[in-house]
């Protein structure tokens, strides 16, 4: 044998295949997301904690530690108590409305009918339309003079012009109005969740229930609903978190009024902290959502874990 040529060993850089390593490449890909969360969520959150424990206002931007006194202040404030209550009413009212509409919408959309695909696409609109746009449209519908809802009811002879409800002027009706708008915004999401859940229930199980003698209601409430409860709860957790922290509908439609009847935590925090400049109390109001939501979310997640099927 004659050696043709000696192969010259080429020095291989230690970093040449560095991107082939899972741990390196993974870290590289995840880094932007982590950075994003740290900078845009973590830092503001820590700042909010800092503000809520200080006496910081825009007139006196000084760091003086006051402990939990800001929290004590707001807890004693009847306006805050009302706001907290409003937030619960608003959140659970609109979620309930959204769930009911979502359930029925999903049942309707499960049946084949001509144009179903189009309806399925269009029904997503309330969710997809920018909140400002949608709220302005609703504001007109609830307007004291030009309300389409009132006009329709008058035309149908259900009410007379003199007693037409002042939707956004009456405290209870104003709360009902923002619940309706938020429920309307939430229900397409609920439909999607329900559709996904119901489609995942095996046909054999539904057929078995039918042959076993279950009618429409029993099938829906004793078989299908318990089976989709876990995914429904996840959807509800999302809905509650988003609604509980939301201020856009209140801000755009009622401005918290009349006389604070529709003020919610997000809105109150914004009013106190940003508009009035009392940053420390505003931060305390906003941070108050954290333990409340934490309890709600933990309870709900524990609930579905126990229901795991």
């Amino acid at each position: 044998m004659v050696a043709i040529a000696d192969s010259v060993p080429k020095p291989v850089s230690r970093f040449r295949f560095i991107l082939d390593r899972r741990d390196v490449l993974g870290a590289l890909f995840v880094a932007p997301a982590i950075l994003y969360v740290l900078l845009l969520v973590g830092v503001p959150f820590l700042m909010a904690v800092y503000y809520s424990l200080s006496a910081y206002t825009i007139y006196d931007p000084s760091w003086s530690f006051v402990g939990l006194s800001n929290f004590a202040d707001i807890l004693e404030d009847p306006t805050f108590q009302r706001t907290l209550w409003n937030t619960f009413i608003f959140t659970f009212g609109s979620q309930l409305l959204g769930l009911v509409l979502g359930k029925f919408g999903a049942l309707l959309l499960l049946r084949p009918f001509p144009g179903r695909k189009l309806v399925r696409a269009v029904i997503i609109l309330p969710w997809a339309v920018p909140v400002a746009l949608a709220t302005v449209a609703w504001q007109w519908m609830f307007d004291s003079l030009y309300s389409v809802i009132n006009w329709t009811m008058i035309a149908l002879g259900l009410i007379d012009r003199a007693n037409a409800p002042n939707w956004l002027g009456n405290p209870d009706l104003a709360m009902l109005s923002i619940i309706v708008v938020n429920g309307w915004r939430f229900f397409p999401f609920a439909i999607v969740i329900f559709l996904a859940g119901i489609t995942a229930v095996p046909q054999d199980v539904i057929d078995a229930a039918t042959v076993d003698g279950a009618g429409f209601w029993r099938r829906n409430y004793q078989i299908i609903l318990p089976m989709i409860l876990p995914i429904m709860t996840i959807g509800l957790v999302f809905g509650i978190v988003f609604t509980f922290t939301d201020l856009s509908i209140v801000f755009l439609m009622t401005n918290g009024g009349p006389v604070g009847a529709t003020s919610v935590l997000g809105f109150a925090g914004f009013q106190t902290g940003i508009v009035s400049g009392d940053v420390s109390h505003g931060a305390a109001i906003s941070l108050f959502m954290l333990p409340v939501l934490l309890v709600i979310v933990v309870v709900m997640l524990r609930f579905i874990r126990r229901r795991e099927i």
Binding site: P202, D204, V205, I206, D207, A208, A209, T210, V211, D212, G213, A214, G215, R218, I223, P226, M227, R307, I309
Partner: protein, 341 residues
């Protein structure tokens, strides 16, 4: 009395008929098997009987009453599904009790009947478990208990063994059959597996293309198939069919034997070229072609290995083979049985 009677049942999905005029009578206590290839309409037919599908036309009688318009729950039949359809969020006890609860049966009565059904199927120790904690065989028993607890006029089973592994399937087959005989329950059993059909059915209805091709006892179906479809669908390997004079002759592989195994003169002789042979322990399957017929038509012979001389089936050579006249079957040009042609 007939438990289930159907008269000319037709079911169309759009323009396509899935069931194309099935008339059948299932007497009380009979184990009737609907056998056919997938997509033949047998499951659709079963779903029509229990009311999950509505027939396009035809009459359905259960226990002597016309039930065309009745919803499933009023028909008095129970159905067991391919994947059992157990309610995953209920315990076994509540699964079995469910059909009684929908009938508003009093609580003590429910407890008694659940007890009875679970005793019958030997699943008493499983009552507090959830379906996901059960094995395949146990799930099947629970499904069966749930179907039985209402004491239905007829029990409908849709391929109940297809989710079990081969070993479990064999024992479940015996168990279901023994159970059905003990309870004396009218049963309609859908399957595409001929072993299940032959082994379990009092009678078998062979279905193809939405029509019943033949109804008969397993012996009748096997020995006297009504047409070419039944002849070739039942039996492994299927009946050999050779085209002849516009019609066809048919004979079972186990009746196609070396000529020297014939002990009298009542047989037809064929010259058989053996191409390949498979030794399967209890039997030997020999593949080849027969002289004078289509050379693309593969003919099989199923031979008892102990009684066959290796020399008489050596591959690549022509051998004298024969079929007893009594074992010959004849088909006309439309594929239907004729006595002779």
């Amino acid at each position: 009395m007939a438990a289930v009677v159907t008269r000319d049942i037709v079911k169309k999905f759009g323009e396509v008929p899935a069931v194309n005029g099935i008339s059948m009578t299932v007497p009380d206590g009979e184990f009737m098997v609907l056998l056919g290839p997938s997509g033949c309409g047998k499951t659709t037919y079963l779903r029509i009987i229990c009311g999950l599908e509505q027939q396009t036309s035809g009459d359905l009688l259960i226990g002597g009453n016309v039930v065309n318009e009745l919803p499933p729950r009023a028909r008095g039949v129970a159905m067991m599904f391919q994947s059992y359809g157990l309610y995953p969020h209920y315990s076994v006890r509540n699964n079995i009790a469910f059909p009684l609860k929908t009938q508003r049966v009093p609580r003590e009565e429910i407890a008694k009947k659940v007890e009875w059904a679970s005793q019958l199927l030997g699943i008493k120790r499983l009552l507090e478990r959830k379906p996901r904690e059960l094995s395949g065989g146990e799930r099947q028993r629970v499904a069966l208990a749930r179907a039985l607890v209402r004491e239905p006029t007829a029990l409908l089973l849709d391929e109940p063994l297809s989710n079990l592994d081969a070993k479990l399937r064999a024992s479940a087959r015996l168990e279901i059959k023994a159970f059905q005989q003990r309870v004396g329950l009218t049963t309609i059993y859908v399957t595409h597996d001929q072993v299940e059909a032959m082994g379990m059915g009092d009678r078998i209805a062979v279905i193809d293309g939405g029509r019943v091709r033949q109804v008969g006892t397993p012996t009748e179906i096997y020995d006297d198939p009504a047409d070419r479809f039944v002849a070739t669908f039942v039996g492994t390997p299927p009946m050999n069919i050779l085209d002849q004079n516009g019609g066809a002759i048919g004979f079972r592989p186990e009746n196609f034997l070396p000529k020297d195994m014939m002990d009298d003169q009542n047989f037809a002789e064929f010259s058989f070229r053996v191409d390949r042979s498979e030794y399967l322990g209890s039997e030997r399957i020999v593949y080849g072609v027969v002289e004078g017929f289509d050379q693309k038509q593969i003919v099989t012979a199923k031979l008892p290995p102990a009684h066959v001389d290796e020399a008489s089936i050596r591959p690549g050579e022509w051998h004298p083979f024969a079929v007893r006249n009594a074992a010959m079957r004849y088909f006309d040009k439309d594929g239907n049985r004729t006595s002779r042609h």
